[in-house]
Symmetry: C3
């Protein structure tokens, strides 16, 4: 039996039995597979956040890892259940847009709609298909069941728009997509874009209209306590941090904020 | 050495070292066993909640799984420490009622009081017997130590009353036993009871006196935003949810609420 | 390939992708190693808390366990990255004082500065060296890479002062170092010190000036609800608890409080 890795991204939280049940179902089908929680703390039903977290993490896992993403506001409706091979990885979850970042950045080899109930639990509820459909499918996949056996090829999937930075007259206008535990505001402005447009040139960053000076190399460059700083974070995107303080506690700093880089 | 699975349900939280210590102790005794967290977020000392979460999850694990449940307000007192074989599973924890749901629904093969200190840590504290007694016992059990070796058979155990729905004159009166992360209010009214008494007949659900109409099949049937809906959830019990909103944010919706189903 | 255990203590939280990424990196290098979360809920950048939690947990793991501790406010600065063999365990993390308790209590066999980039990820960010340096080093270490291969021996490391109880004229004056999930206030007064100085003699405990009577043996000795109680906790230190209530909800009970034991 294959060992392999299944990662989990859900909005199930950790105070109920939902994530434990997912794992029990998987281990009942493949007792050898390794389970890794990425997070169960996706804001309830926030598909975009699930996609964002997936995008920041999936590539750091070994080739062949199965990424199970279950944030499922449409459970019980006619939304599809899908399984995808893209790049070196496999992805399983409801077809609701959570894989939008993957569609943009990876070579999509195959998408299959999960319809073969041989790989489901015997009874399918209308409220917890993570347990009834997605977990068993991931477990069978980890055992080597071929993609084709799960259902028909599927070409139309749900994609949401990923906000792109706008470039005009020496300005890059981005937006804060995520605020992490430390209060770092993570934007959609990639370092590669900045290098290409601004390079080593003079520049000025602002967020929500507030000037932050130029982009720093690391947190340790910030001199005064509580000064806001812009730098390229570990995901390769421009971030704004407030040293020793959660950025969300400062007025006007939050998700959705406009981050502007002006090339002078 | 046996592999096997040990699940963990505790109120230890995840910010201290308590759950890590449990796992360290277990792995020191059986490095091959697989550990699965169900939850460590049981409300402090809430035995009923532990029992409820256990009841919703234990059956989804492979046969032979050991369920370790340590919510232990009586630690250091004379409450017993027990180990039980019931149905296809093994259960370990303080004898304080957390297994009440299991006593009701499973064939109880054997209950043993943990008294053989050969299977304890060398020093037994008065405040953390999860570490000193329950974790090592679970680990030895997962290695195949026979139940008899842990202590004497035990016939009297603590059970708490599990509230049952009341049936009178075409009404089913239940109560909300748990509120999950999404704010779903989970009652004690089983779908099988409803099917038997009401079947496909006309009916009306109310919670805390507020009318909700009839029971829906899935969340997606709800038309207007924020409308409360009653449906049978993934555990087979009647639940009340408020679409796109945590039900607890609505006045009069909480644990302990009366849910009424009237057969018309 | 070695199996082994790597434990994780970080302040990364569980809502972002950071801890998942650490695990993905480790499993890519050693797919056989076992990963155990001690906690990811260290208060952001609280090095002392990380050291305290490590100190309460590391000894309960099997010999040879690798303890990875990444609370890293100085990431991107010139703080060192270190790997240490101490007693029966291995420790990896930034050199910022988080290992201060270990320096005090264990025989330090060897400390190595991590400088051989053969054991790093190819690209080293300035903001997430848990991913780029510490996780890969821990993974290679778990595969049996000798300590010497990671870098040069290192003799000067950062240590912070661990507050010690003061003893004068029949009094022991300690301080609350940590408040756990249950609201137990954990002091720095070890049971062995008390036994030596007070033994079975008459004594009186107070916290923040409030008298608590003598030290009890277990929570169950407390008669009235909500009475504060002093006892020796599972870590071997004097703790103050308020039965059935979080001690922090009582005025004048918190981290930093003075706990006094007077020998009469």
């Amino acid at each position: 039996m294959e060992r392999g890795v299944i990662t989990l991204i859900t909005d199930f939280g950790t105070k109920d039995s939902y994530t434990g049940v997912l794992k029990g179902v998987i281990l009942g089908i493949n007792p050898m597979v390794r389970l890794v929680d990425i997070t169960h703390e996706i804001s309830p039903q926030d598909i975009f956040e699930a996609g964002f977290i997936l995008n920041n993490s999936y590539k750091f896992f070994p080739e062949g890892t199965i990424h199970l993403v279950v944030v499922d506001p449409g459970v019980g409706s006619k939304r599809k259940a899908i399984l995808m091979k893209a790049g070196d990885y496999l992805f399983i979850g409801p077809d609701n847009g959570a894989f939008s970042f993957i569609y943009e950045s990876e070579r999509i080899d195959k998408i299959v709609e999960l319809i073969n109930n041989k790989y489901f639990l015997p009874f399918i509820s209308n409220t917890f298909q993570g347990r009834d459909i997605f977990a068993p499918a991931a477990a069978y996949l980890s055992r080597g069941t071929p993609l084709e056996d799960f259902g028909e090829s599927c070409n139309e999937v749900v994609k949401f728009d990923i906000p792109k930075p706008e470039i005009k007259k020496g300005e890059i206008n981005g937006v804060v997509l995520h605020v992490d535990r430390f209060g770092n505001l993570i934007s959609n402005i990639p370092e590669v874009l900045f290098r290409k447009l601004v390079g080593k040139g003079k520049h000025e960053v602002s967020i929500g209209g507030k000037a932050l000076g130029n982009i720093k190399v690391s947190y340790s460059e910030v001199k005064e306590e509580e000064e806001a700083v812009a730098l390229f974070g570990s995901t390769g995107y421009l971030e704004v941090s407030v040293r020793d303080q959660d950025a969300r506690e400062r007025p006007n700093l939050n998700k959705g904020n406009i981050i502007k880089v002006v090339h002078k």
